[in-house]
């Protein structure tokens, strides 16, 4: 049902809304963009709000176009809801919360975050299952007050009662594990899945290292740029004190240095956005997969536990039936309940496995594409910078010749 490449959208720098590829109303489309970041509030409570524009012809939506205001924690809410409901699917990652940078809120940081959020929503909208989510519709359409209510419901210590139950059950199961002498948590023994897990964990390490060096490279560009600026200033002063043709040559050199300093700073920012950020995004995506892996483990454990418990109940039931106890009816009811739960758990687990298999293929394809784009932008940026540097220096040579001949 995907009618556009979600990945293309996040490349638009202005963040303006994308026109649909197929304007004909017969083909369903869903187009989202996150735009217009605005800083609101003061001091510690400062935050950024974004305009989220939805254009669609899907009947489930309220209308052809809707604009809402959202903030970062709304996106977090959406991600958490999707993570709960669509176990097995790799939920697109969000940029980090970054409590520190919030205070600084530089223009570059704001733009990068906007871009990352735009990518996030578009990936959801492009995913054939996630795009049907009711929570997504809520996110894209609900009034701000509604969002605020939903958002505060989820955050903080005030969890929903069902969450508390779940936590309690988890603790319970862990205790029973210990009691039953099972020290190690129950894990799948699928060798292919083991390989996948190992791959994911290793991949995160490698990617994190690449990202670390990419970030350093950005810093180096900034440092070299600053150094060239300082050098240029000093050389200009030297030229002034020298005075003659040689002095002029020095001045020209100084001017060129300062020009190049600006180029380097520009490229540093480009590098950050088009190369380092995609690498970071890749790392986040892998971390999201790790979360899904954890969910799968939980589901597997639950399936096993319920199967075990069911067996016990079955044995117990047979015992009761033999002695014709009056507790049989209750035990039977409990057994059937448990059986239903167990079947549900098995089904849940099976779905997760199936989904993951699909997802991993999609993930690999998508990442090759994402990285390819990032590498291309990286190459173009570096080539552009290098050519700019070469041109600037070469243009200086005739001026130097003129000075020496005089």
């Amino acid at each position: 049902m995907v009618t556009f490449e979600g990945m293309e959208q996040h490349r638009t720098s202005s963040g303006s809304s994308q026109s649909p590829r197929s304007p004909s109303s017969s083909q369903p489309f869903l187009s989202v963009s996150v735009t217009d970041p605005v800083k609101l509030g003061n001091g510690v409570q400062a935050y950024i709000s974004y305009r989220v524009i939805t254009k669609t012809n899907c009947p489930e939506y309220q209308g052809p176009e809707k604009i809402v205001i959202r903030r970062y924690s709304d996106f977090v809410w959406l991600r958490d809801r999707l993570f709960e409901k669509y176990k097995g699917i790799f939920i697109p990652p969000l940029p980090e919360k970054s409590a520190v940078e919030k205070f600084r809120f530089s223009a570059e940081f704001i733009e990068m975050r906007r871009q990352a959020l735009d990518v996030f929503v578009n990936r959801i909208a492009a995913h054939h299952e996630l795009q049907q989510s009711e929570d997504l519709r809520t996110f894209l359409q609900a009034e701000e007050e509604t969002m605020e209510r939903l958002r505060s419901h989820e955050t903080g210590i005030f969890k929903k009662p069902s969450d508390l139950m779940q936590i309690f059950k988890d603790v319970q199961s862990k205790v029973s594990d210990v009691v039953l002498g099972k020290e190690k948590p129950v894990e799948e023994s699928d060798p292919e899945y083991e390989k996948l897990k190992h791959y994911i964990f290793e991949l995160e390490n490698h990617l994190a290292e690449a990202q670390k060096h990419a970030y350093r490279l950005v810093k180096r560009h900034r440092e070299l740029g600053q150094s060239l600026s300082d050098f240029g200033k000093a050389v200009k002063l030297l030229g002034a004190s020298e005075g003659n043709a040689l002095g002029k040559a020095f001045s020209e050199l100084g001017i060129k240095s300062e020009i190049l300093s600006v180029k380097l700073q520009k490229e540093a920012q480009q590098l950050l956005m088009s190369f380092e950020e995609p690498l970071k995004d890749y790392v986040r995506a892998v971390q999201s997969i790790k979360a899904t892996i954890a969910e799968r483990a939980n589901a597997f454990r639950r399936q096993c536990e319920l199967a075990e418990t069911m067996k016990l109940k079955e044995i117990n039931l047979d015992k009761l039936m033999l002695i014709r106890s009056d507790k049989v009816a209750e035990a039977e009811r409990e057994y059937h309940e448990l059986k239903a739960e167990s079947e549900q758990a098995t089904k849940t687990f099976g779905t997760i496995v199936k989904l993951m298999n699909e997802e991993i293929g999609r993930f690999q394809e998508q990442k090759t594409l994402d990285m390819g784009i990032a590498f291309h932008e990286f190459a173009k940026g570096q080539a552009r910078l290098a050519n700019g540097i070469a041109d600037a220096w070469r243009s200086l040579l005739p001026k130097l010749e003129a000075c020496s001949s005089s």
């Binding site: 690449a210 050098f231 000093a234 040559a249």
Partner: protein, 513 residues
């Protein structure tokens, strides 16, 4: 100092690159044969195909310091080449009773020259010298060639000696000595000097001592300056003392007098009788001081620039290495074809990054060579300041003698007035007047000597400044040119590397859909 950092960092780089480019030594530009699957690591990167030759063209017009600079005057008879090599450790012959003395190093100094002063065309000779003898040479030159801009000798640097490894220190000293002697050799006046000749030619102990032959070269006459000018004894003294700055130990009294004079100059209400009149000189001096300051500043920034260029290269290399590891990882663990495609892309990125890193390293080595000229000229500024000091101290001597003369005349006048009041004359006073008049005569000739010396030094200053100014213009111009050509050339090389990667990843371009 920069070179030390390079030694340290180079070893880290080599470690990294040996991981990545095993086959680099085998082939020079040949395309890589695919390696066996057992060692996929090695075949990941193609060896770079650029050759050293391509880069020497960037330096052909620039100043390459490893080559001998062509003689400045252009004429063959000025050609001199001095090399310092083969440091050897030798035992110090001590007279003390303490066994197992200290050691010192000697260096082989080989000279090839066409200079007639050294024996004409095709002369070649070697001597072995220790650093102490170099110090003696430099001191003698300072005494004999006042007013000239004499290259500053390498430092004794006892701190570095303790901190560095012995071999490193000796090598550093060897390089510094060579640079120093080369500069001496190419100086138009000192390059022909007797002192340098003795230093370079005479085997065994250096036959240079203080205060010999100087007088005969500098003085017109053998007029002696009585010590009673500067002290109480009527002992005759060498006039060449006048033409030397006051040295501690021997000339304490003279030092006091000249110090008194200089204080009078600085704080006294009356102007000294002789002042620095040459406005041109004053202007030049101020300009030079300004220039020195700016030069020092640029030199500092240049050092920073080199450091940041180096950092860039290193980080680029580390990025490349990270991608090499990723490539290997994805290839080994590939379950999907798309992973192999991605691995291929990453390999291309790694190649580009490592190549770029290498280019930065090379660029830096060249940049250091070019910008070293700045450091050199800071040394020259020091030598110029020394030449100016010669001038100031010569002027001070003249001023002191003038004051002395003036006060003598005053005393004579007073005595004559007092004596004239006594009818028939005052025998003791008359005798005193005669003595003073003799002193005046001697002081006057000393002052004439000092005047001549001062003028000589002034002329030396002037001609040297002119010479250095011309040289500086040429040197700096070629340095600038070399630096710029270097930067441009390497930037172009890097652009080519990245353009290749852009081509290789063109399928992912937004524009191609």
């Amino acid at each position: 100092m920069m070179n030390q950092d390079h030694v340290l960092r180079a070893s880290q780089d080599d470690e990294m690159e040996s991981l990545v480019l095993h086959d680099d030594n085998d082939s020079s530009g040949n395309s890589q044969q695919p390696q066996s699957p057992k060692s996929p690591f090695n075949s990941f990167l193609d060896p770079p195909s650029y050759a050293e030759a391509i880069f020497t063209s960037f330096d052909s017009n620039g100043h390459d310091q490893t080559l001998e600079p062509s003689p400045r005057s252009g004429s063959e008879s000025d050609y001199i080449q001095i090399m310092v090599s083969d440091p050897q450790e030798e035992q110090e012959l001590t007279n003390s009773l303490v066994p197992g003395g200290t050691t010192y190093h000697t260096y082989l100094i080989t000279t090839r020259t066409n200079k007639p002063e050294f024996g004409g065309v095709g002369s070649e000779f070697s001597v072995r010298r220790r650093f102490r003898e170099v110090v003696t040479l430099s001191e003698r030159l300072s005494e004999a060639y006042r007013g000239y801009v004499i290259p500053v000798r390498p430092e004794k640097s006892s701190v570095e000696r303790k901190v560095m490894q012995k071999e490193e220190f000796v090598e550093q000293r060897r390089v510094a000595l060579e640079k120093y002697l080369k500069k001496l050799g190419s100086h138009p006046v000192i390059g022909k000097s007797e002192e340098l000749k003795l230093f370079l030619e005479v085997q065994g102990k250096l036959p240079l001592m203080r205060s010999t032959d100087v007088a005969s070269r500098m003085l017109d006459g053998a007029v002696r300056l009585p010590r009673q000018l500067f002290g109480a004894e009527p002992v005759a003294v060498d006039l060449n003392d006048v033409v030397q700055p006051a040295k501690s130990g021997r000339d304490l009294l003279r030092i006091f007098k000249e110090l008194k004079q200089s204080v009078t100059n600085d704080w006294g209400a009356a102007k000294p009788l002789v002042v620095e009149e040459d406005k041109d000189f004053m202007e030049k001096k101020d300009k030079l001081m300004e220039f020195e300051q700016q030069l020092s500043n640029v030199s500092q920034q240049a050092e920073s620039l080199v450091k940041f260029q180096q950092d860039m290269g290193e980080t680029m290399g580390e990025l490349g290495l990270a991608f090499v590891k990723l490539t290997k990882f994805e290839t080994e663990e590939a379950l999907f074809e798309t992973q192999r495609v991605r691995a291929g892309d990453m390999r291309n990125v790694a190649t580009a990054a490592v190549k770029s890193s290498r280019l930065y390293r090379e660029l830096n080595t060249q940049t250091i060579k070019h910008l070293d000229k700045l450091h050199e000229y800071l040394g020259t500024m020091l030598a110029i300041n020394n030449a100016f000091s010669d001038r100031s101290s010569a002027l001070l001597t003249v001023q002191t003698l003038s004051s002395e003369l003036a006060s003598l005349h005053l005393r004579i006048e007073k005595l004559e007035v007092a004596s004239s009041r006594i009818f028939g004359g005052d025998k003791s006073r008359m005798r005193k007047i005669e003595e003073l008049k003799e002193a005046v005569r001697v002081t006057e000739s000393a002052k004439n000597c000092a005047d001549r010396e001062y003028e000589r030094i002034k002329e030396n200053n002037r001609s040297e400044l002119e010479r250095i100014d011309k040289e500086r213009q040429t040197d700096f111009q070629s340095m600038l040119r070399g630096f710029v050509v270097n930067q441009a050339g390497y930037a172009e090389k890097m652009a080519a590397v990245w353009e290749k990667l852009a081509e290789e990843t063109a399928t992912y371009s937004r524009d191609s859909s």
